[in-house]
C-alpha cells in the first residue's frame, strides 16, 4: 500500500488538485477569478516541487505501471511546462467564465500523459493517450464564442480519433501475433514477420499523427491557429513532448529487434518533416501558424536525433525537449499576452514592437534565437547534440540536409526579429502592461534558455539517467 502511494506520487498529487477544483466548482461559495488563478498557480508550483522528492524505482499493479528516475525527470519537465503555461495564461483566464473547468481539464490531460509515460502495458498506454487527447479537444474550444475555436477543436478530435484508430489496429495485430499486451514480453515475441512489420507501421503512423510529422501534419496549422494561445502552447510543447518521450522508449526498448526497418523510415520522415515544415513556415503571415510550422520543423530535428539509436539519441531528445519547453513557451508567452490584450496576431502587426514594448521584444527575440539555434542560446546546443546523434550512422547526406534546414529556418525567424526591431509602423502595438505572473514566466523562460545551454551539468545528468539502445 505504501509502495503504491510513493511510486505514484506525482499522479496522486495531480488527482488531488483536480478534486480540489471539482469541490470549488460544485461548492456554494463563488470564488473570484483572481483568487482562483493564484490558488491554481500555487498548487502547480507545489506539484512541481514535489516532483523532486521521493523518486524511487519500481513496477506495480501487475507490471502495468513502472517508474524510475528518468521517468520522474520527464514528468518534472512536463510539470514545469504546465506551470509556465498556467502563469502565462493568467491574463487570458482572468476574464474567462470557466477557470476551474480549465484547470480540471488541463490537469486531467497531464495525468493522462503521466500514465502514458509510466505505462508498461499497451492498454495503459492507450488509455493514457486517450485521456491526454479527449479533454484537450474540449480545451481547444475554450474561446467559446469563436467559431474558429470550435472548428479547431472538432478537427483535433477527428484527427486524433483517426490516429488512435490506426494505432489500435496496430496494437491488436501486435497482440494477436505475440499473445500478450505487456510491453516487455512483446519485445521477446517479435520475430520480424510481415504482419508484425505492418502492425509496427500502423503504430508509427499513429505516433506520427500525434507529433505531427509530415505526411500526417495536415491538422496542425488549423488547430494551432484556431485554439486559444494557452492551449496552442500546451499542444505544441507538453503533449508533443510527452508523446515523444514515449516514442523514444517504445522504439528503443520494445522494437529494438526491428531496428533496421524503422531507422530508414525515421530518416525519411525526418527529412520530409524538416523540409516541408520550414518551406511552409516561410509563407505564413499569422504568427501562430508560423510557430505551428516551425514546431513541425523542430519535430523533424528531433526525429533525426532519434534515428541515431544510441544512448546519445535518448539524451539529446530529452535535453532538446527541455530546451524546447523554455524557448517555445517564451515565444508563445509574448504571443499570448499580445493576442489577449489587442487581438493582433499577424506578423505585420508586430512591426515596431520594440519602440513600445522593449521587454516583450527582447523576450521573444531570445526565444526565437533559441528556436533557430543561434550559438549562445541553449537551442544551439540542443540541435548540436541531436545532429551529433544522427551523425553516428555516418549518413552525411542526411546531416547536410539537416544543416541546410537550420539555415532556412534562420530566415523566417530573422524576418520576424527584423519586423520587431527595424520596421516602422504607423499603428504599432501600444504599450502593454504585463501582469506580474506572466512576467515571471517570461523571465524563467529567458533564464532557462541561457542557463541550460551554458551549464553543462544538466546534459551530463540526463545522460547518466537515460537508457541506451
Amino acid at each position: 500500500m505504501n509502495e503504491i502511494l510513493i511510486l505514484m506520487k506525482s499522479e496522486w498529487v495531480l488527482l488531488l488538485i483536480i478534486i480540489i477544483f471539482l469541490f470549488i466548482k460544485v461548492g456554494s461559495t463563488e470564488w473570484k477569478n483572481e483568487n482562483l488563478l493564484y490558488l491554481a498557480n500555487i498548487l502547480l508550483l507545489i506539484n512541481f516541487i514535489l516532483g523532486f522528492v521521493l523518486n524511487t524505482d519500481g513496477i506495480i499493479f501487475d507490471e502495468m505501471f513502472k517508474t524510475n528516475s528518468l521517468i520522474c525527470l520527464e514528468k518534472n519537465i512536463l510539470n514545469l511546462g504546465t506551470l509556465l503555461i498556467s502563469l502565462q495564461s493568467y491574463h487570458w483566464l482572468k476574464n474567462h467564465k470557466h477557470v476551474a473547468e480549465f484547470y480540471m481539464l488541463l490537469l486531467s490531460t497531464l495525468l493522462g500523459m503521466f500514465f502514458m509515460i509510466s505505462s508498461n502495458n499497451l492498454l495503459m498506454f492507450y488509455l493514457g493517450l486517450e485521456l491526454s487527447t479527449i479533454p484537450l479537444a474540449a480545451l481547444a474550444n475554450f474561446d467559446l464564442h469563436k467559431r474558429q475555436s470550435s472548428e479547431a477543436a472538432f478537427k483535433l478530435i477527428i484527427s486524433s480519433a483517426l490516429s488512435s484508430g490506426l494505432l489500435l489496429f496496430g496494437i491488436s495485430l501486435l497482440y494477436g501475433t505475440s499473445g500478450t499486451l505487456n510491453l516487455s514480453e512483446i519485445s521477446q515475441h517479435l520475430n520480424g514477420s510481415n504482419l508484425q512489420l505492418f502492425a509496427f507501421i500502423l503504430l508509427l503512423a499513429g505516433f506520427a499523427f500525434k507529433i505531427s510529422a509530415v505526411p500526417f501534419h495536415l491538422w496542425t496549422a488549423d488547430v494551432y491557429e484556431g485554439s486559444p494561445v494557452a492551449v496552442t502552447s500546451y499542444l505544441s510543447v507538453i503533449s508533443k513532448g510527452a508523446v515523444l518521450f514515449v516514442f523514444v522508449s517504445v522504439l528503443y526498448t520494445v522494437f529494438k529487434s526491428l531496428g533496421i526497418a524503422w531507422q530508414n523510415m525515421l530518416i525519411l520522415l525526418s527529412v520530409l518533416t524538416m523540409i516541408i515544415g520550414n518551406l511552409f513556415a516561410i509563407r505564413q503571415n499569422n504568427i501562430k501558424r508560423l510557430l505551428a510550422y516551425s514546431s513541425i520543423a523542430q519535430v523533424g530535428f528531433i526525429l533525426a536525433g532519434i534515428s541515431g539509436c544510441s544512448q546519445l539519441g535518448t539524451t539529446s531528445v530529452i535535453y532538446f525537449i527541455l530546451i524546447y519547453v523554455f524557448s517555445n513557451l517564451g515565444a508563445f508567452g509574448v504571443v499570448s499576452i499580445i493576442s489577449s490584450t489587442t487581438g493582433k496576431e499577424t506578423i505585420s502587426d508586430y512591426k515596431g514592437l520594440y519602440k513600445s514594448n522593449p521587454f516583450l521584444s527582447w523576450t521573444i527575440t531570445i526565444a526565437l534565437f533559441s528556436l533557430a539555434g543561434i550559438p549562445p542560446t541553449a537551442g544551439f546546443f540542443g540541435k548540436f547534440f541531436l545532429i551529433m546523434s544522427a551523425a553516428q550512422n555516418g549518413n552525411y547526406l542526411f546531416i547536410s540536409i539537416a544543416a541546410l534546414n537550420m539555415v532556412i529556418s534562420l530566415y523566417y525567424y530573422l524576418i520576424l526579429v527584423k519586423a520587431i526591431f527595424m520596421d516602422k509602423n504607423e499603428q504599432a502595438i501600444e504599450k502593454i502592461h504585463v501582469p506580474i505572473l506572466p512576467k515571471i514566466a517570461m523571465l524563467i523562460c529567458t533564464a532557462g534558455i541561457i542557463i541550460v545551454g551554458l551549464y553543462g551539468e544538466i546534459y551530463e545528468y540526463i545522460f547518466k539517467l537515460s537508457f541506451g539502445y
Partner: protein, 164 residues
Amino acid sequence: MSQTIFYILASLSIISALFVVFSKIPIYSVLWLIVCFFTIAGHYVMLNAQFMAIVHIIVYAGAIMVLFLFTVMLLNLNKESEPHKRTYLKFAAILSAGVLFLTLLAAFKSTNLTPYQLPEVNEVGYIQNVGIKLFTDYLLPFEISSILFLSAMIGAVVLAKKEK
C-alpha cells in the same frame, strides 16, 4: 452450420458498413450502423464472448447511437445536401483504402499464423472470467477510465451548456 452463419453475418456486416459510408442521408447512415453493430454482436456470440456481445449492444446500440440520433434530430442535420468533394478526391479515397486492404492481405498471406491449440471448453468469454480479470490485473486502467469519464463529462457540459 456455423460456417453458414459466419458467411451470412459477415456479408451482412460488410453490406451495412458500405451503406453507412455511401448513404446520402445521415439518419440512414445511423440506422445502418446500428444494423452493423448487431451483426458484430452476433460474431461475438459465435466467438463465445457472450459478455462482450451484451455490453456491445448496450453501449454501442443503446448509448452511443442514441446520442448520434439525438444530435442529428436536434441540429436538424438530416438534409441531403452535402458539400461536394471533388471527384478525384473521392477516387483517391477509394484507391487508398483499397491499397491499404491489399497491403494487409499481402501481410496476412506471407505470415504463417501459428495454429492455436483450441481447448475443449473455451471459457475465456464468460462473465465471471472477464470480471475477475478486470478487477484484479486491470484494476488500475479501470480506475483511470473513471477519470476519463469525469473529464469527458466536464468537457461536454462546458461546451454544450447555454450561456446565461
